[in-house]
Symmetry: C2
Subunit: 382 residues, 2 copies
């Protein structure tokens, strides 16, 4: 009697949708209206304070637009939360979103519409994901990085115990709406910061795209619309394909190939106290990992030169005084392993479109790779 075993796969119906437009709160609104369920939806708009300050016309315009469509939306009072890594470091940000969700009667059938960069999408998305076991989310990414990478992911989270994304959950937003008009107010520094992730995903998955980025880098750096939008769309698509076609959207496996270049990038962000932005740290991280592949005899200096060349033309600074402390950087390897759990799995790239995994990396190896990276940067700048 006391035996028995019930086991079955469980189907969790989820759909991952990314839509691109020039103006989501104008004539193109039906691009995302059409993605919503039937009926009138309670909606809580949450804005990144950095975006709100740089783009002050957006919030009133969004509010007026939602109010002008009362058959579709029942708007809650907007919330503005601190932008940048503060959103993920200060637990009060998640608490303030949870308080607004409660005060504004946002239920499981309502929406939280998030306007912000990657950090705000992460922190506000986390709050929405743990209220009522998950309130629906619409993401309106406001940076190149959030549009071509961070906003496409199905991760949410905040920092804790001085570790990035220590608290978090996987959750698929109802839709990611990449509105290019929201990028107009970005500083050149923030504009540039999105494209190291575009280089990363092209190196991992698409030789032709890497060549296109090499061809278009100057046009993108001067923010030419056609080349920039094409690159953002393609990067978003490659990240999206990895999630929907890769078979491991919630990262149950040990490998995390999209984190190419990230073990040292996360460490550099921490060590510089956020002085290096994520995209800037990733540019350096890609350089170090390219050098690491050469150091292992799996790649060539020519490949390394191409990687650094395109990043340099985007305007990234590829060396940093923090690289002097190789032991401190090396700790990033162990933190990366621990966050994923199990044995170390680092994805590197031998040549565009040819990734490979390694499972150990000692201090001598990492140290040589950093030296090789810095040496190539000096050659490039000479």
């Amino acid at each position: 009697m006391s035996s028995g075993l019930f086991q079955s796969d469980i189907q969790i119906p989820r759909r991952h949708v990314v839509v691109f437009c020039d103006d989501a709160f104008g004539p193109q609104a039906d691009r995302w209206f059409d993605l919503l369920p039937e009926g009138c939806h309670r909606i809580l708009p949450v804005f990144d304070s950095g975006f709100d300050a740089a783009h002050p016309t957006c919030r009133p315009r969004v509010e007026a637009f939602l109010d002008a469509h009362p058959s579709l939306f029942d708007r809650a009072l907007s919330l503005v939360v601190p932008g940048g890594e503060v959103a993920k470091n200060d637990p009060k940000v998640v608490d303030s979103v949870l308080a607004a969700i409660h005060a504004e009667n946002i239920c499981r059938q309502s929406f939280v519409a998030i306007f912000g960069g990657g950090a705000v999408l992460d922190a506000v998305g986390f709050a929405a994901s743990i209220a009522h076991r998950g309130v629906k989310v619409l993401r309106f990414p406001t940076t190149t990085l959030a549009q071509d990478d961070a906003g496409i992911g199905v991760k949410n989270g905040v920092n804790h115990h001085n570790e990035k994304n220590w608290r978090g959950v996987f959750a698929v937003p109802t839709a990611v709406i990449n509105d290019f008009s929201l990028l107009a107010s970005l500083s050149d520094r923030d504009w540039r910061s999105g494209f190291s992730e575009a280089v990363k995903v092209a190196l991992l998955k698409d030789t032709r795209e890497f060549e296109l980025l090499e061809q278009h880098v100057e046009a993108i750096a001067r923010r030419s619309e056609v080349e920039s939008q094409r690159a953002i769309i393609r990067s978003a698509e490659l990240h999206w394909r990895h999630i929907v076609e890769g078979g491991d959207p919630f990262e149950d496996e040990i490998a995390r190939p999209l984190d190419y270049g990230h073990w040292s990038a996360h460490r550099l962000e921490r060590l510089t106290g956020g002085a290096l932005k994520h995209g800037e740290a990733v540019a350096i991280g890609l350089g170090i990992d390219a050098a690491l592949a050469v150091e292992l005899g799996r790649s060539t200096p020519d490949f390394q030169r191409r990687v650094l060349g395109v990043l340099h033309k985007f305007g990234f600074t590829l060396d940093h005084p923090q690289l002097d402390d190789r032991a401190a950087i090396f700790m990033g390897i162990e933190q990366f392993r621990a966050h994923l759990g199990g044995a170390l799995t680092l994805t590197l790239v031998a040549e565009p479109g040819v990734p490979f995994d390694i499972h150990d990396a000692d201090f001598a190896l990492i140290s040589s790779a950093i030296e090789r990276h810095r040496s190539m940067v000096r050659t490039l700048l000479a």
Copy 2:
């Protein structure tokens, strides 16, 4: 250029496994060992303080057992957390589990093994679900209620804003291990409390099972092994089938049929400050909903009498002074609607195995149903 739409279903591989045994930490251990991935697993055992006090030999036995299998387990220091609804009301419980996960280096490939009743499974499971975007969980339910219902669910959560389960996420445990030996130390009151959920799920889904419960109620009430284990296994199976076969495991839809009898039960738990246990409140809630179906002309006094009859024979008290305040009970309808979101959907039962939904319920109707329930209880006790 600036248009584009990527959309695709996303496959999230999850498996829902429930295993039954007489002694998970003895000769039957291979029943659940076989469900684990290959390799040695870091494991953090967390115990419900109520269970730990009532069953003091269990924790040292589990610890010794894990230590005796070093090729399978790398045991972390055990944690004991407050049992019962305190686990879900006091945010320090979640914080203490998160702190232990960090201090004991529990990663995404490690396990948190939870020994406890439904409330502890909920709160500790919630903490595990938000660390590293989800640490793996093994559930060892220690009450009849947790074995036949709560532990089978894929919900986790804690109370907040004075509302049940306001913070929470859906997450599928690696396995639910229903070890009958863990029930030996239950008080008769806690033993009984699990069986109102067995009555509920039989009424919703399985006419024959309801008849069996009517036949076996005296044997189960005196804790006869064969009848009790059969009833627990069948209730667990019916709950499990609803999740794996119902097509809506993460409750994206508005209806929540397994919450038959629960709108008033949740309210009664709150109003009595926890003096009524969940299973006791559900017994009264089932009675009220049976009366409601009669009041609506959809069911018969004979059905209502059968429902109350079997609950009474289990030993449940079916009236409560709190029912005098019908307005306070009625508020449960709105709270139930708000938690699910959207329009009200209440699932009722017309006769065993024949559920139906209603979408409104005014005060006069609820008030009459409560009166009808109390009147039938008086008849039953006369």
